[in-house]
Point group: C2
Chain length 204, copies 2
């Protein structure tokens, strides 16, 4: 879509190229379908640029393996085998974060979410990835498991050239304030409203 | 997101399984970012199910190669080589449709769009693909190059189990009427509003 011209050229002392290359903080929110799907679609583009991708799945989808995980991890393998694209790491909260030795303490979701965020902060400080997908990260924030102001401050002050996309409903105002791009996926019609459940290949 | 329960169970004589497996007509519309990205994210899921994917790019992105094309075509190759996932075909209007012998008549966009739609109709009748991505197909409809009622009727009467996703702004009311799922990607904030142009890995 946006290959057009910007609406205004700001007086920020940056060249067009510098401005163009500023890393983005993106938020996909709203009640409609497409928030996570678009974030994983973005990961496709990033992979193609050879970027390092870190996916961090909070809440729901963490329990089962979604199609995107299989495909993106396969693309990560392809990168290791042939050098095509970029590396992919996929971490999920569901059964204990992959980097953590504590497995199976999935009961304590609040602690697991806070641990996930701590690891993401470490990685942002170390400039580990080029794209971070923080999937459904709005929920632990909304539930008070992770502090919204800490998230907003950390993300807006992250060093280097790291893109971040956060998905989920009810995004915190503090997060929206510091985001560069916010899309509200608004539900106009959903098959579930007429009694159709989610299906393979469409929902996961 | 929607792993929950439907809001109502309709009296349509279908079992839950039959209803669950009904093929979907999806529309991603609105002024925000994420319409095409989410459609290609959906294609990732479909590939993982072993489905045959047909992408038809109308308008804009047809002129250049976007990251998703490289990656999805690479996944299609992987399918041919190893049997993983499903086959992928990617057709774009920009420099003449891939199936057409007439190349380079890109000046006549109206005719090219009408030809694209005719081919899609043939494929729907032949049940060629499991997922059709009709990217930015709303524009040729909005511009009168393709008839909205023909599209609505053809898509709602398509045989078998073929999923279709249409992307683009200003979706025709006739199309929205027959769609099962409509998401309006609403722009809340976009970097272009503050003078930032599109960038590699994010916009393409």
């Amino acid at each position: 879509m946006p290959q057009g011209q910007p609406l205004a050229v700001p007086e920020d002392g940056l060249t067009t190229r510098q401005r163009r290359n500023r890393p983005l903080l993106m938020v996909h929110t709203g009640d409609g379908k497409g928030k996570s799907t678009a974030a994983f679609g973005l990961a496709l583009r990033s992979w193609n640029q050879g970027w390092s991708i870190g996916v961090f799945q909070f809440v729901k989808s963490a329990k089962w393996r979604i199609g995107e995980q299989t495909v993106l991890e396969r693309l990560g393998e392809l990168h290791e085998q042939t050098g095509e694209g970029g590396p992919v790491e996929w971490h999920k909260m569901g059964s204990g974060w992959s980097w953590s030795k504590k497995q199976g303490d999935e009961e304590d979701h609040a602690r697991a979410a806070a641990e996930g965020w701590k690891e993401i902060k470490r990685r942002l400080a170390a400039e580990t990835h080029d794209l971070y997908v923080l999937d459904e990260f709005t929920y632990p924030i909304a539930w008070g498991w992770v502090d919204a102001d800490d998230v907003a401050e950390t993300l807006s002050n992250r060093p280097g050239r790291q893109h971040v996309v956060v998905t989920g409903r009810r995004a915190a105002p503090a997060l929206l304030d510091v985001a560069d791009l916010v899309t509200d996926m608004t539900k106009v019609k959903h098959p579930m409203d007429t009694g159709q459940k989610g299906q393979r290949g469409i929902e996961w």
